[in-house]
Structure formats: structure tokens, C-alpha cells
């Protein structure tokens, strides 16, 4: 079915479970994500979308199951998770830029400290990427001097500066004023065109329809339905998905 299903998956999620105290938020989730996949996850509030995404780079500690990233089980306590996180870019709803550093410093900190790049090398790469998202001239600004849309584009670039193998997005446009949503989605669209592997939790149905290779509907801790975007939106099978789509479209 999936055009990208070639070779071993980049991420293999096996029987992933997550409890907060007694509350089972994720229930036995298994899913494979291949290189070049753009997986959009949609679903009602509180259904566990963020939790799923955050388990992928162990920002949340899974309560059960395995996540093989490039062949290594990162749920295993013995795995050096910090190393693998360098290969998994993460973009948050609230941007989470470091307010005490200039944009350039935000972008080069991790490459310099973690990948041992020289300042020069790191800055060159950062400026190149900044240019790509149209923000080269803001390199020396501080985050608070930028608009929300600009901040989020910087946050994406910050993750890209580590040359990740996969990018995780958690509702990257939900905190933006409507007229800024477009500029961020455009950057993400370009990334997808460059065959970046992406997992995107989003409420932007238009984006999902257009860009995703697969759309998944999460509800009650499961993926209730998964499909190619056209089928998914035009022929939903699950009742809850139908109800959900009727509300948000």
C-alpha cells in the first residue's frame, strides 16, 4: 500500500503502552514508520497524540513495548537516549526557543556542543538553513523580537541543524495567529518534498490531505484508523472518525 514501504522501517513501534498513574493513555500501539514517510496524526483533544509523539523520543517514558529507531530499542534503559535524540528533531507547539540566546546561538548550540562542530561550520550551516526559511536577516535577533510564525520556523531550523533522520512535530501551528499558519506549513511542505521523514500531530486537515503519505486517527489510546489521505478524508470507516471529521471540517 504505502509507497515508502521499502527495506526496514526507520521507526518500529511495537506494543507501545503508556500509563499516567492508573490512566492508560496509550494502549498497545504498533506502527512502522518508513524513511520518507509523512505521517499525520489527528484526533480529539486528550486522545494521546502528544503522548505518542513524545514516547517516540522518550520525552515520555513508555510503560511497555518497544520502539526500534534505526534498529536500536530506545525504550531499553541501557540505550544512550541522548545520542538517538540527536537524530530525532522535535518541534513543539510553544516553540521553546531559548530566550536568552540569539537566534544564531539557538541554532548552533547543539551542533557545537554535541556534534563537535566548529563555530564557523555550525554558523554556516545555520545561516544556510535560515536563508531557506527566509529569516537570514534575523540571525542576531533574540526570540522575543520575532513573531510566532518566525519563531516556529526558527524552531524547525534548530532541529534541522542537527541533521536529523526524522522530524517530530506536535501541533506546530496551534499557537499561531491564523495569518502566520501558512508560512510555517510552507516550510514543512518543503521539508516533505525533500523526503524528510516526518511525524506530525496536527489539526490542519488541509495540510494533512495535501502533504501526508499516511494519516492516522487516534482516539482513546489507539490508532482507530489509518489510511492514505484521500481515502482517509473521503471514505472514513470508523464512526468516531466520521463524527470527528464532521466537527472539524
Amino acid at each position: 500500500m504505502n509507497i515508502n514501504e521499502i527495506g526496514t522501517p526507520l521507526i518500529q513501534v511495537q506494543n507501545l503502552g503508556k500509563k499516567f498513574g492508573d490512566m492508560e493513555v496509550l494502549k498497545d500501539i504498533s506502527v512502522d514508520i518508513y524513511k520518507g514517510d509523512v505521517v499525520c496524526v489527528i484526533g480529539p483533544s486528550g486522545s494521546g497524540k502528544s503522548t505518542f509523539l513524545r514516547c517516540l523520543n522518550r520525552l515520555e517514558e513508555p510503560s511497555g513495548g518497544h520502539i526500534l529507531f534505526e534498529g536500536t530499542d530506545i525504550v531499553d534503559k541501557k540505550t544512550d537516549i541522548d545520542k538517538h535524540r540527536q537524530k530525532m528533531g522535535m518541534v513543539f507547539q510553544q516553540f521553546n526557543l531559548f530566550p536568552h540566546m540569539t537566534i544564531l546561538k539557538n541554532l548552533t548550540l547543539a551542533p557545537i556542543k554535541l556534534q563537535g562542530k566548529s563555530s564557523k561550520e555550525a554558523e554556516e550551516q545555520a545561516l544556510k538553513l535560515l536563508d531557506k526559511v527566509g529569516l537570514k536577516d534575523r540571525a542576531n535577533a533574540y526570540p522575543n523580537q520575532l513573531s510566532g510564525g518566525q519563531k516556529q520556523r526558527i524552531a524547525i531550523v534548530r532541529a534541522l541543524c542537527m541533521n536529523p533522520d526524522v522530524m517530530l512535530f506536535d501541533e506546530p501551528t496551534s499557537a499561531l495567529d491564523p495569518e502566520m499558519v501558512g508560512e510555517v506549513l510552507n516550510v514543512m511542505r518543503e521539508l516533505a518534498e525533500e523526503k524528510m521523514t516526518m511525524v506530525v500531530v496536527t489539526h490542519e486537515m488541509g495540510f494533512a490531505k495535501e502533504v501526508a503519505t499516511r494519516v492516522m486517527f487516534m482516539d482513546g489510546g489507539y490508532f482507530m484508523e489509518e489510511n492514505e489521505p484521500v481515502e482517509f478524508f473521503e471514505n472514513p470507516k470508523n464512526d468516531r472518525l466520521k463524527l470527528f471529521l464532521s466537527k472539524v471540517l
Binding site: K83, M90, F92
Partner: protein
């Protein structure tokens, strides 16, 4: 009335160079406050790091327990009792000098409060900052060092500066161990001239001026921190 004030002033400060009690006392007060604040900040910083680390990672269990006892005891007893214990019990068989004793007692006392200032400074940094650091691949220590601490420190600088004011006032009980601080300086004059008004009011005014000047400096500092672009 005016005559009387002038006469009182003369009696209380000029005769026998009594103003020296005030000046000497003030010096001691400032000396104790300054060094106690330094000790307090150092101690508080270490304690805050230990407690935050324990809370976030579960490590440093024993150190954390020690810190808890320290915080409970120091925050659970009056500073003047601590001062006397330091002087008459802890240093019963070795005298490092009254000033040093006072600096240590007030410093240790201050540390317990500064620790909470730092801790609330750390926890005032949004969790998202920590997660952003970790998700880039920084480990716990690196995230604290590069991302959390610089922001936390900036947040608490005004409160820390305020700690100087708090201590300045607290050291007024240093006289309990026979040390001549500003308050005691006024006391001595009072005991020479049998006049309470002039020395007490003067001492109060000197404290007030110091606190006001320092508060003003803290405000300036706050404004500058606020203005700075980050």
C-alpha cells in the same frame, strides 16, 4: 524643642566621640551582611541544584535528605537562637571571632532561604525549555548548565539582591553574642546617655536609608534585566 534636639544630638553623638559606636557598628553590620550573603548564595545554590536534580532524576538521594534536614532545621528555628547556638555551643571550644561566628550563622541561615529562591527560579522556567534541550540531545547536566541555569539565575537576581536587604535587617540581633553591630552601637550610646530617642531613631534612620538605597539599586537592576533584549 529645636534647642533640645541639638543638645541631645550633642550629648548622644559628639561627647566622647560617641558617633564612633554608630560608625563602627555600621561597619560590622555591613561586613557581616555582605559575607553572610555570599555564603548564603553559595550554599543556597548548591542545595537548590541537589534538590532539583533529585526531583528531576531521582539521583543524589542521600545528599537530598541532608539538604532537607538542613532546610527544615534552619527554617524552623529563629535566627537569634541559631546565632547563640553557633556561639555558645558549636564554637564552645574554639573561638573564630564574633564577626566570623555571626557571618557563619547568618550565612547558613540565609542559605536555607536562598535555596528556595533558586529552586523557585529553576521551576519558574517552563518545562518546555527543559524538553527542548533534552530533545536536541543534551543530557540532564548540559541542559541545566546551558539552558535552565542561565535563565533561572537571571530571574532570581532581583530576589537575591533583596536577600541582602533581608539580612541587613536580621543582623540587628548580632548584639546577642556581644558583637557591636549598628543596633548595638545605638544601645551602647543609649546606655551612656540614658536617652532612648536619639540613638534609636538614628539607628532606625540609618537602616532605612540603607534599605531604601539598596532597594532602589535593585529596582534599577530589575529594570535593566527587563530591558535587556533576551
Amino acid at each position: 524643642m529645636w534647642e533640645k534636639l541639638r543638645d541631645d544630638f550633642y550629648q548622644n553623638f559628639i561627647v566622647d566621640d560617641r558617633w564612633k559606636y554608630i560608625v563602627d557598628g555600621l561597619q560590622n553590620t555591613l561586613k557581616i551582611t555582605f559575607f553572610a550573603v555570599l555564603i548564603g548564595i553559595l550554599l543556597g545554590f548548591v542545595v537548590a541544584i541537589i534538590r532539583s536534580t533529585y526531583e528531576n532524576t531521582g539521583k543524589l538521594k542521600i545528599l537530598n535528605a541532608i539538604c532537607s534536614v538542613y532546610l527544615t532545621v534552619i527554617r524552623g528555628t529563629p535566627v537569634v537562637v541559631q546565632l547563640m547556638i553557633m556561639y555558645f555551643i558549636i564554637f564552645a571550644f574554639h573561638d573564630p571571632g564574633q564577626i566570623f561566628t555571626a557571618i557563619l550563622a547568618f550565612g547558613i541561615n540565609s542559605g536555607a532561604y536562598v535555596a528556595e529562591i533558586f529552586r523557585s527560579g529553576i521551576s519558574s522556567i517552563e518545562r518546555g525549555q527543559f524538553e527542548a534541550g533534552r530533545s536536541l540531545g543534551f543530557n540532564y547536566a548540559q541542559t541545566m548548565l546551558f539552558i535552565i541555569m542561565p535563565q533561572a539565575f537571571k530571574n532570581v537576581v532581583p530576589t537575591l539582591a533583596n536577600e541582602f536587604i533581608v539580612l541587613l535587617k536580621e543582623t540587628s540581633v548580632a548584639g546577642y553574642i556581644g558583637l557591636q553591630d549598628l543596633t548595638k552601637g545605638g544601645d551602647i550610646i543609649k546606655s551612656r546617655t540614658y536617652n532612648a530617642f536619639m540613638p534609636l531613631i538614628s539607628v532606625a534612620i540609618i537602616y532605612l536609608i540603607m534599605v531604601m538605597v539598596f532597594s532602589y539599586l535593585v529596582t534599577l537592576l530589575e529594570r535593566r534585566l527587563h530591558k535587556s533584549e533576551h
